[in-house]
């Protein structure tokens, strides 16, 4: 008799299991909309972008294979979260000695230059991707995006959305440290 009554507990148990699963997902702080990159641990795509400033060198695949880890940051002057994360990029470049390449996404040259003049330039070089075609090869779908590339040109980390201090402390700086040694 007891055994047959236990059956009535099944819905409750199912509910608790589901509720627990949802709670873990909700409390994990992960962005449920973030799409895992298909390019992690794969070589960065082949590309060759002109520079943002006339007469300055552009940004191409070869720049990523110079031996040390580098960051690639996709930004645009029209992108508000790019402004929010900019101080962190400045800090990375100036205090942590990181090499950051900028990929200026679907922007106007004049606007992008204004953005850099106003906020400072953390980028070693800036490639101008007016059509957004190179960005598609990188799998970009939400600006800003930030990648860490190891010395051999492989993508090791991707962050979609504005960088926050905890991404720097917990992910990017340890990874850079790791890749440098």
């Amino acid at each position: 008799m007891i055994r047959s009554r236990l059956i009535f507990l099944i819905p409750l148990v199912l509910f608790l299991v589901l509720a627990g699963y949802f709670a873990v997902q909700l409390l994990s702080g992960e962005d449920p909309r973030a799409v895992p990159s298909a390019l992690i641990d794969k070589p960065a795509p082949d590309f060759d972008l002109p520079g943002l400033y006339a007469g300055e060198p552009g940004f191409a695949t070869a720049d990523l294979k110079r031996g040390g880890p580098v960051l690639v940051n996709v930004f645009a002057s029209w992108c508000v979260p790019c402004r929010a994360e900019h101080p962190l990029l400045m800090r990375l470049a100036e205090e942590e000695g990181a090499t950051i390449f900028g990929l200026n996404y679907k922007d106007k040259r004049a606007d992008a230059k204004g953005f850099i003049e106003e906020l400072g330039n953390p980028y070693a070089r800036i490639g101008f991707d007016g059509e957004g075609r190179v960005a598609i090869d990188w799998g970009v779908y939400g600006v800003p995006e930030t990648y860490v590339i190891d010395g051999s040109g492989r993508i090791r980390y991707k962050r979609v959305g504005p960088l926050q201090p905890r991404h720097l402390e917990e992910d990017i700086l340890p990874l850079l440290e790791d890749l440098r040694s």
Binding site: V35, P36, A38, I136
Partner: protein
């Protein structure tokens, strides 16, 4: 009155969903355009996520639609276009996930649920059948003295066919 209601109904039924594809994106060749539409209906817009790029007005969706049309025009097959996108955005870009090891559970879950359901129904009916048999006559108590003696003999291992000979299975072992 009825006529105007019918007219209203006709208007509602005839209304087509607003499409995101702009005339300037379309290919001149209707066959290629049809293929491009077919592909884009199965490609997820990564900005809005639950729309296909065919339905989405997002900038990136437009870029991807144009890209799909370019690839189709260059002679890519539908599968090649999809592979091109998957290489950049992962399986997630396809609205219909491919069948593979990582998606095995996803694809098998309807069949699994059906099995669980069937098992539950089977157990339910078996339990009911048993319960009603018990109610009908208190099976154990209803054994007659003759039946009980025979049962005792069977349990003791000496099954003599000559003892009763009635209604026995032909497969039974004869002594």
């Amino acid at each position: 009155m009825i006529r105007s209601l019918l007219l209203a109904l006709a208007v509602v039924v005839a209304a087509l969903p607003a499409l995101a594809v702009q005339p300037d994106e379309m290919l001149d060749d209707p066959a290629l355009e049809r293929r491009a539409r077919e592909i884009s209906q199965d490609v997820r817009c990564l900005v809005c996520q639950n729309q296909s790029i065919d339905e989405s007005n997002a900038d990136l969706a437009r870029d991807l639609r144009v890209l799909v049309r370019e690839r189709v025009k260059q002679g890519d097959t539908n599968q090649e276009v999809r592979d091109y996108l998957v290489a950049r955005y992962g399986d997630y870009v396809l609205l219909k996930p491919p069948f593979g090891l990582s998606t095995l559970l996803l694809w098998a879950s309807p069949a699994l649920l059906l099995l669980v359901g069937a098992l539950a129904v089977f157990l339910w009916f078996r339990g009911r059948g048993r319960a009603s048999a018990t109610q009908a006559g208190g099976a154990e108590a209803a054994l007659s003295a003759e039946e009980r003696r025979r049962l005792d003999r069977l349990l003791a291992g000496e099954d003599g066919p000559e003892d009763d000979g009635s209604g026995r299975d032909p497969g039974d072992r004869r002594a």
